[in-house]
Subunit: 128 residues, 2 copies
Protein backbone atom coordinates (compact mmCIF):
# COMPACT_ATOMS: atom_id res chain seq x y z
CA UNK A 1 0.00 0.00 0.00
CA UNK A 2 1.13 3.56 -0.65
CA UNK A 3 1.12 6.25 2.06
CA UNK A 4 -1.99 7.70 0.41
CA UNK A 5 -3.78 4.35 0.48
CA UNK A 6 -2.84 3.86 4.13
CA UNK A 7 -4.28 7.29 4.94
CA UNK A 8 -7.51 6.45 3.12
CA UNK A 9 -7.78 3.15 4.99
CA UNK A 10 -7.18 4.89 8.30
CA UNK A 11 -9.74 7.64 7.74
CA UNK A 12 -12.31 5.00 6.77
CA UNK A 13 -11.45 3.11 9.99
CA UNK A 14 -11.95 6.28 12.05
CA UNK A 15 -15.27 6.95 10.28
CA UNK A 16 -16.29 3.39 11.18
CA UNK A 17 -15.50 4.04 14.86
CA UNK A 18 -17.33 7.37 14.95
CA UNK A 19 -20.36 5.74 13.29
CA UNK A 20 -20.12 3.00 15.95
CA UNK A 21 -20.38 0.57 13.05
CA UNK A 22 -18.79 -2.25 15.02
CA UNK A 23 -20.03 -4.92 12.58
CA UNK A 24 -17.79 -3.32 9.91
CA UNK A 25 -14.67 -3.34 12.08
CA UNK A 26 -13.34 -6.49 10.43
CA UNK A 27 -12.86 -4.53 7.19
CA UNK A 28 -10.10 -2.56 8.91
CA UNK A 29 -8.81 -4.70 11.78
CA UNK A 30 -7.15 -8.12 11.49
CA UNK A 31 -8.43 -11.25 13.19
CA UNK A 32 -5.25 -11.53 15.27
CA UNK A 33 -4.78 -7.88 16.17
CA UNK A 34 -2.57 -6.97 19.13
CA UNK A 35 -3.10 -3.84 21.25
CA UNK A 36 -0.23 -2.64 23.43
CA UNK A 37 1.23 -6.12 23.42
CA UNK A 38 -2.04 -7.89 24.28
CA UNK A 39 -3.34 -10.42 21.71
CA UNK A 40 -6.93 -9.16 21.73
CA UNK A 41 -8.01 -10.45 18.36
CA UNK A 42 -10.81 -8.77 16.45
CA UNK A 43 -13.47 -9.78 18.99
CA UNK A 44 -11.50 -8.50 21.95
CA UNK A 45 -10.64 -5.31 20.10
CA UNK A 46 -14.32 -4.73 19.29
CA UNK A 47 -15.22 -5.38 22.94
CA UNK A 48 -12.61 -2.85 24.06
CA UNK A 49 -14.04 -0.20 21.73
CA UNK A 50 -17.65 -0.92 22.71
CA UNK A 51 -16.62 -0.60 26.35
CA UNK A 52 -14.92 2.75 25.57
CA UNK A 53 -18.11 4.07 23.96
CA UNK A 54 -20.17 2.81 26.92
CA UNK A 55 -17.95 4.56 29.45
CA UNK A 56 -17.56 7.70 27.28
CA UNK A 57 -20.97 8.39 25.72
CA UNK A 58 -19.74 11.43 23.77
CA UNK A 59 -16.56 9.75 22.50
CA UNK A 60 -15.43 11.07 19.12
CA UNK A 61 -12.18 10.34 17.31
CA UNK A 62 -10.62 13.38 15.62
CA UNK A 63 -7.43 12.92 13.63
CA UNK A 64 -5.14 15.84 14.38
CA UNK A 65 -2.07 14.54 12.57
CA UNK A 66 -1.49 11.55 10.33
CA UNK A 67 1.89 10.17 9.24
CA UNK A 68 1.98 7.18 6.90
CA UNK A 69 4.98 5.15 5.79
CA UNK A 70 4.15 1.59 4.73
CA UNK A 71 3.51 -0.63 6.58
CA UNK A 72 2.97 1.83 9.45
CA UNK A 73 0.48 4.55 10.31
CA UNK A 74 1.13 7.06 13.09
CA UNK A 75 -1.76 9.18 14.26
CA UNK A 76 -2.27 11.89 16.82
CA UNK A 77 -5.89 11.78 17.92
CA UNK A 78 -7.56 14.66 19.73
CA UNK A 79 -10.33 13.87 22.22
CA UNK A 80 -12.81 16.29 23.80
CA UNK A 81 -15.19 14.17 25.85
CA UNK A 82 -16.77 13.41 29.22
CA UNK A 83 -15.95 9.95 30.57
CA UNK A 84 -18.25 8.56 33.24
CA UNK A 85 -16.73 7.51 36.57
CA UNK A 86 -13.08 6.50 36.57
CA UNK A 87 -10.92 6.96 33.49
CA UNK A 88 -7.27 5.83 33.55
CA UNK A 89 -7.73 5.48 37.33
CA UNK A 90 -8.70 9.15 37.57
CA UNK A 91 -12.03 10.28 39.03
CA UNK A 92 -13.25 12.14 35.97
CA UNK A 93 -16.94 11.56 36.82
CA UNK A 94 -18.43 13.08 33.70
CA UNK A 95 -16.26 16.19 33.56
CA UNK A 96 -15.27 17.36 30.12
CA UNK A 97 -11.62 16.72 29.36
CA UNK A 98 -9.37 17.26 26.36
CA UNK A 99 -6.39 15.08 25.67
CA UNK A 100 -4.35 13.48 22.92
CA UNK A 101 -3.55 9.91 21.98
CA UNK A 102 -0.34 9.27 20.03
CA UNK A 103 -0.74 5.89 18.40
CA UNK A 104 1.09 3.66 15.93
CA UNK A 105 -0.48 0.96 13.77
CA UNK A 106 1.08 -1.74 11.61
CA UNK A 107 -0.95 -2.78 8.59
CA UNK A 108 -0.69 -6.17 6.87
CA UNK A 109 -2.82 -7.26 3.91
CA UNK A 110 -4.99 -4.16 4.27
CA UNK A 111 -5.81 -4.70 7.96
CA UNK A 112 -4.51 -3.20 11.22
CA UNK A 113 -2.64 -5.99 13.01
CA UNK A 114 -0.73 -4.15 15.75
CA UNK A 115 -1.52 -1.02 17.80
CA UNK A 116 0.85 0.82 20.13
CA UNK A 117 -1.04 3.58 21.90
CA UNK A 118 -0.16 6.15 24.56
CA UNK A 119 -2.81 8.42 26.11
CA UNK A 120 -1.76 11.77 27.58
CA UNK A 121 -2.70 11.06 31.18
CA UNK A 122 -0.59 13.97 32.42
CA UNK A 123 -2.74 16.39 30.41
CA UNK A 124 -5.92 14.93 31.91
CA UNK A 125 -4.57 15.19 35.46
CA UNK A 126 -3.84 18.87 34.87
CA UNK A 127 -7.53 19.45 34.08
CA UNK A 128 -8.98 17.75 37.18
CA UNK B 1 13.20 15.89 2.17
CA UNK B 2 12.36 12.27 1.41
CA UNK B 3 11.21 9.80 4.09
CA UNK B 4 14.69 8.29 3.98
CA UNK B 5 16.37 11.68 4.51
CA UNK B 6 14.03 12.44 7.40
CA UNK B 7 14.94 9.09 8.99
CA UNK B 8 18.66 9.86 8.60
CA UNK B 9 18.18 13.30 10.16
CA UNK B 10 16.24 11.80 13.05
CA UNK B 11 18.76 9.06 13.80
CA UNK B 12 21.54 11.66 13.78
CA UNK B 13 19.46 13.78 16.20
CA UNK B 14 19.03 10.78 18.53
CA UNK B 15 22.77 10.04 18.32
CA UNK B 16 23.38 13.67 19.29
CA UNK B 17 21.15 13.30 22.34
CA UNK B 18 22.74 10.03 23.45
CA UNK B 19 26.20 11.57 23.05
CA UNK B 20 24.94 14.52 25.16
CA UNK B 21 26.39 16.71 22.43
CA UNK B 22 24.20 19.65 23.35
CA UNK B 23 26.36 22.12 21.43
CA UNK B 24 25.40 20.29 18.22
CA UNK B 25 21.67 20.42 18.92
CA UNK B 26 21.19 23.41 16.62
CA UNK B 27 22.05 21.20 13.63
CA UNK B 28 18.79 19.33 14.21
CA UNK B 29 16.48 21.66 16.12
CA UNK B 30 15.12 25.01 14.91
CA UNK B 31 15.65 28.30 16.72
CA UNK B 32 11.89 28.69 17.30
CA UNK B 33 11.05 25.09 18.21
CA UNK B 34 7.80 24.39 20.06
CA UNK B 35 7.37 21.45 22.45
CA UNK B 36 3.83 20.37 23.34
CA UNK B 37 2.57 23.82 22.45
CA UNK B 38 5.24 25.70 24.43
CA UNK B 39 7.52 28.05 22.44
CA UNK B 40 10.76 26.85 24.04
CA UNK B 41 13.15 27.91 21.32
CA UNK B 42 16.44 26.12 20.86
CA UNK B 43 17.84 27.38 24.17
CA UNK B 44 14.82 26.31 26.17
CA UNK B 45 14.75 22.96 24.37
CA UNK B 46 18.42 22.39 25.21
CA UNK B 47 17.75 23.34 28.84
CA UNK B 48 14.87 20.85 28.98
CA UNK B 49 17.08 18.05 27.66
CA UNK B 50 19.98 18.89 29.97
CA UNK B 51 17.54 18.84 32.88
CA UNK B 52 16.25 15.43 31.74
CA UNK B 53 19.80 14.03 31.70
CA UNK B 54 20.48 15.56 35.13
CA UNK B 55 17.40 13.97 36.66
CA UNK B 56 17.87 10.66 34.77
CA UNK B 57 21.61 9.91 34.81
CA UNK B 58 21.24 6.69 32.76
CA UNK B 59 18.89 8.22 30.18
CA UNK B 60 19.23 6.63 26.75
CA UNK B 61 17.02 7.17 23.71
CA UNK B 62 16.25 3.97 21.78
CA UNK B 63 14.16 4.22 18.62
CA UNK B 64 11.71 1.32 18.61
CA UNK B 65 9.69 2.42 15.59
CA UNK B 66 10.12 5.23 13.08
CA UNK B 67 7.51 6.45 10.60
CA UNK B 68 8.42 9.25 8.21
CA UNK B 69 6.18 11.14 5.80
CA UNK B 70 7.44 14.61 4.92
CA UNK B 71 7.31 17.00 6.66
CA UNK B 72 6.58 14.76 9.68
CA UNK B 73 8.44 12.16 11.71
CA UNK B 74 6.67 9.87 14.16
CA UNK B 75 8.79 7.90 16.59
CA UNK B 76 8.15 5.39 19.33
CA UNK B 77 11.00 5.67 21.80
CA UNK B 78 11.74 2.97 24.37
CA UNK B 79 13.27 3.99 27.69
CA UNK B 80 14.83 1.75 30.33
CA UNK B 81 16.19 4.05 33.01
CA UNK B 82 16.26 5.11 36.65
CA UNK B 83 15.02 8.65 37.28
CA UNK B 84 16.04 10.30 40.53
CA UNK B 85 13.30 11.55 42.87
CA UNK B 86 9.99 12.52 41.28
CA UNK B 87 9.28 11.77 37.64
CA UNK B 88 5.96 12.84 36.11
CA UNK B 89 4.83 13.51 39.69
CA UNK B 90 5.54 9.89 40.59
CA UNK B 91 7.97 8.92 43.38
CA UNK B 92 10.30 6.84 41.25
CA UNK B 93 13.33 7.55 43.49
CA UNK B 94 15.93 5.81 41.39
CA UNK B 95 13.97 2.66 40.63
CA UNK B 96 14.45 1.20 37.17
CA UNK B 97 11.44 1.74 34.94
CA UNK B 98 10.63 0.91 31.33
CA UNK B 99 8.23 3.00 29.31
CA UNK B 100 7.52 4.34 25.85
CA UNK B 101 7.23 7.82 24.38
CA UNK B 102 5.12 8.23 21.25
CA UNK B 103 6.22 11.49 19.66
CA UNK B 104 5.60 13.49 16.49
CA UNK B 105 7.97 16.03 14.96
CA UNK B 106 7.47 18.53 12.15
CA UNK B 107 10.59 19.36 10.15
CA UNK B 108 11.10 22.60 8.24
CA UNK B 109 14.27 23.49 6.32
CA UNK B 110 16.05 20.46 7.77
CA UNK B 111 15.30 21.31 11.42
CA UNK B 112 12.75 20.04 13.96
CA UNK B 113 10.36 22.93 14.61
CA UNK B 114 7.46 21.28 16.46
CA UNK B 115 7.30 18.34 18.89
CA UNK B 116 4.14 16.64 20.18
CA UNK B 117 5.10 14.08 22.79
CA UNK B 118 3.17 11.70 25.04
CA UNK B 119 4.89 9.61 27.72
CA UNK B 120 3.28 6.36 28.88
CA UNK B 121 2.67 7.37 32.50
CA UNK B 122 0.18 4.53 32.98
CA UNK B 123 2.93 1.98 32.22
CA UNK B 124 5.23 3.62 34.78
CA UNK B 125 2.55 3.62 37.47
CA UNK B 126 2.05 -0.11 36.92
CA UNK B 127 5.75 -0.67 37.76
CA UNK B 128 5.82 1.28 41.03
Amino acid sequence: MTPHELADLYRAYIDCLNARAFDDLGRFVGDDVHHNGRPLGLTGYRDMLMDDFERIPDLWFRVELLVCEPPHIASRLAFDCSPKGQFLDLAVNGRRIRFAENVFYRVEAGRIVDVRSVLDKTAIEAQL
